[in-house]
Symmetry: C2
């Protein structure tokens, strides 16, 4: 494969597409907001007039858009991917969506002879820029192997998780863990801060033991600087927890802790922190506890 389409040139998508371009792929882009495509077009990417044209001119397409509805529209919509894709065409959906949607899309694309992988990533903007994303992939294993060169250009590793939907399931599990770990940081930090402990010394202490976490390492430094610039936005996490909640109900798995965490993230959304980093949930605790962590 040499000609790769890329749809969704946001914080994640733009650096991912740029890595492909740098690696020598012919990159064809399309973005709803056309101005977002400008930086990469200047570097040599080709701009398609429509999704259909993009599909017609490429062998595979990577989709990195917001949520289920956008992914469905891009693939199945009027003038969409499926209208331009020839049999054998490969769709790599790296957006985090419901496993059910991934499975449904796989059934629909299969009818057109088009392959689809659900291939969400862990890592945020920084990891996308550094090509250090991790892909978790569901779909046909042979197709996964053929796409491996693309994954290794955009990320550091890719794991095959099983048939269609399994990438999406894994991503939801990952984000459930991330969200709960974030609230672990929020509640522990509020407690020790109000008890008079220095948050940065606390981070050093927990960093050495069983309580260590990626959330502690990345969010405590942001919290003490009161830096809520989004590495991962609150609205996106709220969306993922809603999907995980649906999944838990379908699978009949009781998740009392996740449910409480989901409500806390929902409180952060209600307080107006949707477009801030997920660590802005700490502001709810600060208000309740009457403190300002710094």
């Amino acid at each position: 494969m040499k000609k790769i389409g890329f749809i969704g040139l946001g914080i994640m998508g733009l650096p991912m597409a740029s890595h492909l371009l740098k690696a020598g792929y012919e990159v064809i882009v399309y973005n709803r907001t056309m101005s977002k495509a400008q930086p990469i077009v200047e570097k040599g990417a080709k701009l398609a007039d429509s999704l259909r044209e993009l599909a017609r001119e490429s062998e595979a397409v990577i989709i990195m858009v917001k949520a289920d509805a956008e992914v469905e529209e891009v693939i199945l919509g009027n003038n969409g991917i499926l209208e331009g894709a020839k049999p054998g065409f490969i769709i790599i959906n790296s957006s985090t969506i419901s496993p059910k949607t991934s499975i449904r899309l796989a059934a629909k694309t299969a009818k057109a002879g088009v392959e689809i992988l659900d291939a969400p990533v862990t890592g945020s903007g920084v990891q996308a820029i550094e090509a250090k994303l991790t892909f978790m992939v569901g779909g046909n294993e042979e197709v996964f192997k053929r796409c491996m060169p693309l994954f290794t250009v955009m990320g550091k590793q890719a794991f095959y998780m099983g048939e269609s939907g399994k990438g999406s399931y894994t991503k939801l599990g990952n984000n459930v863990m991330l969200a709960i770990n974030l609230l672990a940081v929020s509640e522990a930090l509020t407690l020790i801060y109000k008890a008079g402990i220095d948050p940065e010394v606390f981070l050093q202490v927990v960093g050495g033991g069983g309580a260590r976490s990626g959330m502690a390492e990345t969010k405590i430094p942001k919290i003490v600087k009161r830096d809520y610039k989004p590495a991962f936005g609150t609205a996106m996490l709220a969306k993922d927890l809603a999907l995980a909640s649906d999944l838990a109900r379908e699978l009949q798995v009781p998740v009392p802790v996740m449910s409480t965490v989901k409500e806390m993230v929902q409180i952060a959304v209600a307080k107006g922190f949707s477009d801030e980093d997920v660590c802005s949930v700490i502001k709810c605790y600060e208000e309740w506890a009457g403190i300002e962590i710094k």
Copy 2:
């Protein structure tokens, strides 16, 4: 200081005392269950007949017992430490107890001219054997500095957290975070397992991103092997969460997530998992979800 008393020769205490002995300290031991002292006495530690005698013959004592009541009994009880301690004697309490008890004990020992540090540790039996514990210490800073050689013999690092009680506060914060991270693993793992994802591949995926945690790294391998041998016992965690819950109420910090986690650990206790590792809480989820993770 050359003559160090050691009280509480359990999973943690025995290797800690052994490191002091190997480093050339004269170690005087006392244990309620005298047979537990046998291994270290054979290596050259001196056995005291009472806590009073132990205090009389040493310059400092390290206490590593179960909970608040045991620590108070050891220090303030009949024939206890305070009866034998000369002014200037140093008590290092490494047991995890309530900050309030640490503060109260400091006030009482001060009247006898005896110094006390609350110096709980992160790390379990393995870290104790490898001398890789982390100490978080409250009390007089000058006394902390004098005890630094002891901490570095038994552990890899020691942090000064502030006046008496601050070590205990830090430890509770640490264990709140650990407990919530443990439940993050439990709920995410149950979800992805029931969705058909391999738990060990899942661990590899989360290990590379923001959802990584010490609990995921140490407990997922135990869970898939159905190994509930205690590195950290469920009853001990339940005790710590009860202390943290008291602390949250005193400090007026709402902790909805920790409260749910505390109830889950309490369910594990109710199911009879007190003496098993904290990761045995997964068995509650397995029963509810009708699965067996392996």
